[in-house]
């Protein structure tokens, strides 16, 4: 039930579509304790990633990730844009020789993604960042014995719970950090993006 390189191509237009749809919602969310750019940068960045992958003649699963990461970095030099670009490029490196995308590869991808973000952002778990959602996604996939679609269902559940948990945290990084206690009670904006990322991946993996 693992996905082929031909199938994983479908992630990218799906992400682009989702972030285009969530544009205003993310702007509003980032606006509460940030600078309102998140909806703009994510929709722009993932549209660029979609176009970059679509432009590839033939590409491995990792090759798609590389193109997406490079496109994100170029189109969205904001904090989250750079972090997401990093995640994809780390995924590319970790899966360079992968011929398919099943549960173990998904686990490898999200772990590399989370580690890349942690390293790039110098964030720790509990700092109320996208990392607080990425790490549980990777952990859920690592622990799962299910095939990819079901394993991603488990990852989405973990991600949603993790996002809920960020409400109790106080932001330590980025623009939100300046708001400190005011950030408590709100879900982390970057974490919300991570939930969307894995939801879209799940949806595509469930396609017949």
């Amino acid at each position: 039930m693992a996905m082929t390189a031909e199938q994983t191509r479908a992630f990218y237009p799906a992400w682009a579509e989702r972030f285009a749809a969530e544009r205003e919602a993310l702007i509003a969310l980032d606006g509460k304790v940030g600078d309102s750019d998140l909806g703009i940068t994510m929709s722009k960045g993932f549209a660029a990633a979609r176009d970059a992958v679509a432009a590839l003649e033939e590409a491995t699963i990792a090759g798609q990730m590389k193109a997406a990461g490079a496109a994100l970095a170029k189109a969205a030099p904001s904090t989250m844009g750079t972090l997401m670009a990093t995640g994809f490029l780390r995924g590319f490196k970790a899966l360079e020789s992968a011929g398919q995308f099943g549960t173990p590869e998904a686990a490898t991808f999200w772990r590399a993604y989370a580690e890349g973000v942690a390293q790039r952002g110098k964030a720790q778990l509990g700092d109320k960042t996208v990392l607080d959602v990425l790490d549980p996604i990777a952990a859920a996939l690592e622990a799962s014995g299910s095939p990819l679609p079901q394993a991603l269902d488990e990852a989405v559940t973990a991600a949603a719970a993790a996002l809920e948990a960020t409400k109790d945290m106080v932001a330590q990084h980025g623009k939100a950090a300046a708001f400190q206690e005011k950030s408590r009670g709100l879900p982390d904006a970057g974490g919300t993006v991570a939930v969307m990322l894995v939801e879209v991946m799940r949806d595509v993996a469930h396609r017949p």
């Binding site: 590389k66 490079a70 030099p77 750079t82 990093t86 952002g121």
Partner: protein, 333 residues
Amino acid sequence: MKKFLNTPEAFVDEMLEGIYRAHPQVTHAAGDLRCYVTANPVPGKVGIVTGGGSGHLPTFLGFVGENMLDGCAVGGVFQSPSSDQILEVTKHVDQGAGVLYLYGNYTGDIMNFDMAGELAELEDITTRTVMGNDDVASSVVGEEHKRRGVAGIFFLYKAAGAAAAEMLPLDEVARITDKARARTRTMGVALSPCIVPEVGKPSFTIGENEMEIGMGIHGEPGISREPLKPADEVVDVMMARIFAETDYKSGDEVAVLINGLGATPLEELYILFRRVSILMEERGVTIRHCWLGEFATSMEMAGASISVLHLDDELEPLLAKPVNTPFFKHIKV
């Protein structure tokens, strides 16, 4: 906001157009005005790439030129350039010997340079990184890695540029630059704020007779806000912080940079230097090299900073090496 500009949005790009029109020694890569590179790369030489937000001229791009830097990724006012822009600059300046990334210690810049380094690696370009962290006021001793990079990066540029010009390999250039970094200290004091064009109002307020000691070049809070004192006393306070964490001994040599933040006249910088010179003299320390003027500005902010590099036998001749960029020239006396 009293500025000569057409629109805040065009501020950086029109400035760059002006620079390219004025100085044929520099050009841009990848069709992007913000990918600023030397027009005369030296084959086989380690490339030195810097970058950071606009609004600090001549920092950062002003130091691209002969015997100094090879490229600069130019961000919006006080904003990091993108990793992609850094990558394009990197690809353009790489001459097969690898590239040193040399920039100030700020989160946005770090993320984008790190990212660019990884992208460069994918293209088989080796990079090393040294980050200026000379601002004594921005963190305590023992936490130097948290310190901001400010005007003292000029010394790092000079050391790195000279080392690369002598065709040393990348690791050597990085080692030397890192040594210059470890031996550089800066203290600044601000008297008035500046205005980011797209924001249109001052970044902070400060009383008519106040100064903020240790304020950062983007208006980051400093150590203390006090009534403005006579110049000698201001220097004494600033230098006390530098002396407290360095071990200059009689007979040692230093390089000194008195940097104007933007609106402060050169006349006043010489009054500050006079006192620095007296304090060094009292300690038997020789000021072997000194530079005064605007090196790392915050547009029209009033204020100044004092940077000191503790020279050694390796760094001194590198600092002495002549340099020729459109914005900065150093000729042997």
